[in-house]
Subunit: 316 residues, 2 copies
Amino acid sequence: MANIKEIAKRAGVSVSTVSRVLNQHPYVSDLKRAAVQRVIDELDYTPNRLAVDLIRKETRSIGVIMPYNNNQAFDQLLHGVLNRSVELDYTVVILPTKYDPDKELSYLNMLKNKLLDGIIITSRSNTWDAILPYTKYGTIVACEFSDHPEIGCAYMDRYESYVNTFQLLKDKGHSQVAFTTARGEESNSTKLTIKAYQNIFGDLPSEYHIRDCYSIDDGVRAAQQLLHLDPRPTAVYANGDEVASGIYQHARSLQLRVPEDLAIIGQENQPVGIGLSLSTVDHQLVKVGEQAFDLTMNRSKDKIEIPYQIIVRHTT
Amino acid sequence: MANIKEIAKRAGVSVSTVSRVLNQHPYVSDLKRAAVQRVIDELDYTPNRLAVDLIRKETRSIGVIMPYNNNQAFDQLLHGVLNRSVELDYTVVILPTKYDPDKELSYLNMLKNKLLDGIIITSRSNTWDAILPYTKYGTIVACEFSDHPEIGCAYMDRYESYVNTFQLLKDKGHSQVAFTTARGEESNSTKLTIKAYQNIFGDLPSEYHIRDCYSIDDGVRAAQQLLHLDPRPTAVYANGDEVASGIYQHARSLQLRVPEDLAIIGQENQPVGIGLSLSTVDHQLVKVGEQAFDLTMNRSKDKIEIPYQIIVRHTT
DNA sequence: GTGAAAGCGCTAACAC
DNA sequence: GTGTTAGCGCTTTCAC
């Protein structure tokens, strides 16, 4: 492919003049500008962005670290990021970790090797201590609250949302309340869910907490474990609407009435929840993603809280 | 940040030697290799990938052109791509078009300006004629069948799948069959759906075709239009399970029995369809995405067909 | 085994 | 307004 030198030669000007017209600098005579443009069109020339980025020390592209890409919650976050990135003509790279800490670190390293201007962490498996050193090389924004001054945050108040949801269940007369989570205690949301539970209900019987729940099938499995317990829980707070729908499905197959025999509330206001009219708490992840992008762009280290919304439908 | 020159100086060797240890070349004495490695560790040095890519003329990253990123079907495709890209240590960039042809072209241009090695097109708004010139700059793979020899394809036989689904409905005794699509006739799937319909049922009453359907709400709207028609359709083939679930919901709110009064079948085997036990035709988009990635990687121009699956549940 | 040097394709400071 | 030139940070001949 032609390069800038070739264009310069053919147009009978210097490379700097070509560069000037490429970058819409003023102070280029109309004559030369036209000549250069003509050669550019003729040769169908496009500047090599690697060379440009190398010298400009900026790529206008950011990465999004996410454990899974087949998960509605993370997709909402990503969707928010993309909403804004398209508008601002940024490029976004997906960095799927499956919660492998080394993989995660290798992605953060893309800041260091100049491939990325910034990174949004939707969920992490490394400690902040391991992540912080990378702030030296680019902006890092998290979709959870972190009090570290180097980290910008777009987040919702998970703890408060969990507390309020459990309180809602308690107010409706439930005292045997179970819940599901994705990962175990290594995860921030799991920790906060447990803490919120204990705040409202006191001791947590370990059999009331089902882990590794992501899909409808996991919800069925959770229900299988939960609904044979004695005493049987009268309500369950699922960590997503897909999981909630699996629980719903299994409860119905057991002839249980929802919500009379079993109340169910999910999270994230996903299609399956709308379809089944499941109650849910919408953490507005699309907005979180949009905010996260804006923070990244602006190299901001602000902490922005996004309000959540409890949506009561027919299952609580 | 330190660069290779700095490392060379501190280690008392030439830059070529540093480059050699960086790229695990043989023929470097253990002594020098160790010295270089020590300095690298000391300075926490990482090579600048922009400079490497510039000279190597390869980025190990590919783009995925997709109209929307909040659409289950495209997410499945993307999921497939990511499954394989992670394994093979490739980077993937999301290129959302909203079906803007210019935006789409500007993304294709990333091949030309060396930012991307290849591009997967999940759905396009440009004609192939407009796209083909870009094959000169990198591999282009489509998630639909194209007979052009320059384009690799991972696809399912949409037309056959549509024909078989309409035939299934006809076999069950339906003669008043409606359907929904996303875009209008500018879209390949819409065209094929119409053609398949005509093949099975003959003339298409225009009111039996509802466009611009993507979400549950769109499904509700479609049902509102469809279910007041006279004669009322007795079956509808939705272009996705979310749309199908909106139709289901509205039909139920009208006290219609499903499938007795109205049969419904969706597409892509999405969570909401599983939750509502909706019949669906699963085009195995995850597998399509995986194949598409492999074709891109191997610079292959093969045409690979992925089998689809009709899943009959409780709504047909 | 090792190093000098010529690029890769571009930008921008500087001189005119 | 325009051209010369010194880089950006790296890989890779080629000669020793």
